[in-house]
């Protein structure tokens, strides 16, 4: 085993790691850099709590080798807040109480953010539900989460709204 150099952007900050190539993206973020927003859950690409964005796309951090994102741009939930202001999705999750235990929350928010970036005006709540198909929540029953995403899509958190 030969360690590999990994250079990438996390939340617009440049990082360089010298790591075992078997390191998963979620391990690089949590254990090497301290971005603990991405959780480790099922470890089998099922539950979605490790969801982060790579070049704007939602991926499961437990199923991507960290070395594969060399040179890429990673966004974790820690990177959503801008100038002390929460991302609209985060604000909406708070307003709608879209979590109970909170373990799925950061992954859910990342999937919701990626979904809304791709689909700013979902045609119905079914489309929102499909947008978070890769994320499991065992507490809320999803309704409050869907309400939160729907509120953002409907412009409730737009500047000046």
């Amino acid at each position: 085993m030969e360690k590999q150099l990994l250079r990438f952007l996390v939340n617009d900050q440049e990082y360089e790691l010298f790591i075992n190539p078997k390191t998963l993206l979620v391990e690089a973020l949590r254990d090497h850099l301290g971005f603990a927003g991405a959780k480790r859950g099922c470890d089998t690409a099922s539950c979605g709590v490790c969801t982060v964005m790579v070049n704007g796309m939602a991926v499961k951090g437990c199923s991507v080798l960290a070395v594969q994102v060399n040179g890429m741009n990673i966004t974790t939930v820690e990177g959503l807040e801008k100038d002390g202001k929460l991302d609209p999705v985060q604000a909406a999750f708070l307003d709608e109480g879209a979590f109970q235990c909170g373990f799925c929350t950061s992954g859910m928010i990342m999937s919701a953010r990626a979904f809304l970036n791709e689909t700013p005006a979902p045609k119905d709540t079914m489309e929102i539900r499909r947008g978070i198909e890769g994320n499991l929540c065992r507490c809320t029953g999803y309704n409050s989460i869907v309400r939160a995403i729907d509120a953002v899509a409907k412009g409730k958190y737009r500047e000046g709204a």
């Binding site: 085993m1 030969e2 590999q4 075992n20 190539p21 078997k22 998963l24 470890d43 089998t44 690409a45 979605g48 969801t51 790579v54 796309m57 939602a58 991926v59 499961k60 437990c62 199923s63 991507v64 080798l65 070395v67 594969q68 999937s111 990626a114 979904f115 947008g131 198909e133 890769g134 994320n135």
Partner: protein
Amino acid sequence: MIHDFTYLRPGNVKEALAMLAQHRDGAKIICGGQSLLIIMRQGLVVTEYLVDIKGLDELNCLIYDSRAGLKIGATTTHRTIEKSRLVKEKYPVLVAMEEKLASIQVRNWGTIGGNLAHADAAGDPAPVLIALNATVTIASSAGGRSVPLEEFYPGLFETVLSPDELVTEVLVPPPPAHTATVYQKFNLLESDQGIVAVAVSLSVSDAGICQDARIVLGNAAPIPIRAKNTEKLLIGNKLNEEIFTKAGETAGEEADPVADIHASEDYRRHLIAVLTRRMTKEAWEQACQV
């Protein structure tokens, strides 16, 4: 716990093939890794070298030509296929299949070449692509060859690939006239793998007769299989409810399913019969309209 390996990142296909030729059985190929990393973590796959082809952009392409058909490069992601207007127009069944493959996150990173080479009998793309009569293009440093996808799987989790070979593309022939291809899987959660799955492609002649039929059963045997007895029932006939029902029964009989935690053997046969009946009907109705 993933065992240690030496990581190799080829800069192009030629380099990748040279690495495979050098390390042969000692090397595994990773692309999106959405299946491979799970079984590596379970300790089911241990490798000395891991050759990472995810970054090979020369294999990341979707090209349509009215004579050659659709060429999908091996490193093209599921999401690229799902979102392609070209694919939606020419092969809507591929888009419908991709939309229900695993989750958005998996489709964003996982690739068509990796999925096919993983050889999971419950995989979604293979039955559809076999129904569409696709071939895979295989390269090695000694040359290349082309294999019909239908002949790509000798057994459960096996492919005809030699250790020095790499899948470089999938070729889907142009859609024949008056032909429709449909796919449905049965599962409890929409994005799960199918407990069973059925892909049906039917062609109808100007006289309103079923001219050609390709029926592929997924997760109904150790590998995706053609339901050839069922196809024979359809070809040469004007199809109706009675034939659809008979087709379902025949497909259920010629399947070779196993029992597992998701379904018994009998239940799988029943599901195959129901899905085959529905899919032959749907394909027939669509084919009669195009």
